[in-house]
Subunit: 469 residues, 2 copies
């Protein structure tokens, strides 16, 4: 049996097994997804991938496990969270921890220069699961990256355009995209008198400003990290600056960051170009130029950004990314491949969608996509039901019929509840007249049509329904 | 950083790492998928899932790893092929080996009675990879199953209908679905004088008849498995019987299998019902009732089937399944849940599709779905390109523009080669007249339209193109 060669002896050995029935369960920190959850996920995936495809994106896939050495040394302290496979002879393997390292490894193996790729797949972390906070050991990541040599800021602008289109299409609330530049941040620290060795620790303090007051962060800088109070105060002035991109840009041109710092001026020149492109793409209004955005990741080399919902009821970032020009080169001896990308917080999006649907019945995604339910009145009339279904399936209409004999009175509310938009109903009198009744569920309308005209009568209704979905 | 909390220290530690650059590779027996391969896979998945959805199917997902004890004792000798996770403290885990055991475990955990579910996901086997024969350590399975208590043979008929719709929609060659019944097979063996203890070994010999001559199989039965020659000869007569379902059914009604065997008569009564339903569904012509079909799996309890291509250039089965009424109950203390299903040999289907596309350039799936390519004549005109793209993206039209400055002479053949169906082209003279040129690539036609009428002129073309895809 080429499809399932190893199941042959399964049943035998199960029957031979004397073990009693255990209560089955899933491992800690991971989940099954029910049909309803999967329907929500598919809707989110569909909306997101259609934006990626709208921009010429392609997708790749990589194995769920990598050679352990590919992952080794990439995640610092968090390496302890990597799931190792048992040593059963042969190679030493581990489950992927994110999609970024496999992407960098992919580019190095396949020698692909220029690619706009998205990858939606599960990653694995032996973290302490915090189910209530939506933190699991197996979860989806959803990454879009543009790798390759391109004119300055053009791909960066398109990634930001894609991010806004995704958040618009998902329609989960008002948002803004905070944006900063890594080189500008470094220039600012230098200008404020932060010694280079303290850049990273001070950055990670700044990164906390979305959750903590300046006073608290300042105390961390001065007391924990040993920064001079004067330097901290200067930083405090800069990181309070946040405005519409072009407005803040003009303000900064008057400051030392442009006038005195080479790096600062270069970064601001970059940003001027980017803001111009974002204006041409029509999305500049969704961007907030924010000097307090630091982003913890050390590998960013240019523009960085983070999308946050500005509604009160959703906190934290829902997507984040930036430019990382030196990362891919670490896997390759062919030199650097510059790249810019964004990671969509897909698990957070699922959680928001599930909560919205729990609150608003009309927003609920259907579990099935069934368009027509075929039912008989009185007798079961299985033959006619099966023939009608076959005809509808041939016309690519999504159709179901009851396996068990049910009265129409019981079926009707179920079909309504499942939000199936149409029914084909008939009894012996319709059979005699060679007709069927089409029920349009939304307005309880019923039309009697010739059996031979059933499909052609239904199709325009179905088309209209599909366009509304 | 809630999206990627652990990458913070990555870059630092990578830079600190003194290891030189290793040549990166994937583990033995697993693969990356390129954008082109993914496009083919998505096309196959799309066609297959649209049939599942057409029949009211829902999908579920389960974790990639299960508690080891769930898998233990289910696969007999082949248990050695299970990938174990390392013992890093906590539970003992293993990667899923197929989708059937996780489905049975899912039904037991969630207490779902009636479900029509499909599941397309990767499974893992530490097998000796035979790349040339398309056998990998990580590969997709694609299962559809109907679980629950339903009238006899109704779900069985729908599963077979679904299988034929999938093979019709994939359009990979002529095929037939061989069909038999497990109880009929046992009755046949009993009638031929096979001792019950020899049922399984004799079945597995019969299973080889699709590859070997009867004489070879007979020798195995008699010499290796110690069956009386007379019994083997009787089996030989039966297993040569293969015909259109209703024809063979009428023939068998004249034999001892119907007249003398209680099991045989019961199974044939089942099959009579099934054939009736398959006739009503309009697919009886695709079925071949074949007494030589044995299917190795021990867990089948009713009808069994296997789809094979009847073209010369494709061998082996492309889908297989049957009824298994006792399997799910093994995980549950709530009693049996009857089930019937089919597993589509999706990796074999990918291989056939890839080969077809390599042979026939016109059948090649496009890597991107880009519909419009925006290019300028002469000057780069980046602003206008970006503005036009933004307008097309807003209209949900899949659009790209060149990141780098390229002449139209160089772009044109690339756009044709990528089979992008439309171009928007303009230069400074079009800008002055407030027009753009729409190129319809299929017939090299070019229309000049007002800039403000670009989208409305394009949309009907795009709609027509989408309907043809």
């Amino acid at each position: 049996n080429p499809l399932n060669p190893s199941l042959d002896s399964w049943f035998t050995s199960m029957l031979q097994s004397t073990s009693s029935i255990r209560k089955p369960k899933v491992p800690k920190g991971v989940r099954d997804f029910t049909p309803h959850q999967m329907a929500i996920r598919e809707q989110a995936f569909g909306r997101i991938t259609s934006v990626f495809k709208r921009h010429g994106g392609v997708t790749i896939d990589t194995p769920v496990f990598e050679l352990k050495e590919i992952l080794t040394g990439k995640y610092g302290e968090d390496s302890k969270l990597i799931y190792d496979l048992a040593d059963q002879g042969g190679e030493i393997l581990a489950l992927r921890y994110d999609l970024t390292v496999p992407f960098a490894r992919y580019l190095a193996v396949h020698g692909e220069g220029n690619i706009k790729r998205y990858h939606i797949a599960k990653v694995y972390r032996r973290d302490n699961p915090q189910i209530a906070r939506g933190r699991f050991r197996e979860f989806y990541q959803c990454d879009f990256d543009i790798a390759g040599e391109y004119p300055l800021m053009v791909p960066d602008a398109e990634v930001l355009k894609i991010l806004t289109e995704i958040l618009d299409d998902l329609d989960l609330g008002t948002y803004e995209v905070k944006l900063n530049h890594r080189v500008l941040l470094d220039a600012m620290l230098e200008l404020c008198g932060v010694p280079p060795a303290k850049f990273r620790p001070i950055c990670s303090a700044i990164d906390k400003l979305d959750k903590e007051e300046w006073e608290t962060v300042k105390i961390e800088m001065v007391q924990e990290k040993g920064l001079a109070e004067e330097a901290a105060d200067k930083i405090g002035e800069y990181v309070s600056m946040k405005n519409q991109p072009k407005v803040l840009f003009e303000q900064l041109k008057e400051t030392g960051l442009y006038l005195e710092s080479k790096g600062g001026r270069a970064a601001l020149d970059d940003l001027e170009k980017l803001f111009q492109y974002l204006e041409w793409f029509g999305v500049i209004d969704k961007i907030s130029f924010d000097l307090s955005l630091a982003r913890g990741l050390d590998y960013y080399t240019g523009v960085i950004y983070e999308a946050v919902f500005t509604d009160n009821n959703v906190v934290g970032s829902v997507a984040a990314g930036g430019r990382y020009d030196k990362l891919v080169g670490m896997f390759s001896n062919k030199g650097d491949i510059p790249a810019v990308g964004v990671s969509i917080g897909i698990e957070r999006i699922f959680a928001i969608m599930e909560r919205k649907m729990a609150e608003d019945a009309s927003a609920v995604v259907r579990d099935t996509e069934t368009e027509v339910y075929v039912a008989s009145i009185g007798d079961e009339l299985l033959q006619e039901k099966m023939e009608i279904c076959a005809e509808l399936w041939s016309a690519k209409i999504k159709t179901e019929f009851p396996y068990k004999k049910r009265t129409l009175a019981k079926l009707f509310p179920e079909v309504l509840g499942a939000r199936i938009p149409f029914m084909v109903v008939f009894g012996s009198s319709e059979l005699e007249n060679d007709t069927v009744n089409l029920k349009i569920m939304s307005d309880r309308q019923e039309v009697t049509v010739k059996r031979s005209e059933m499909v052609e009568t239904l199709l325009p209704y179905i088309e209209e329904y599909r366009q509304g979905e």
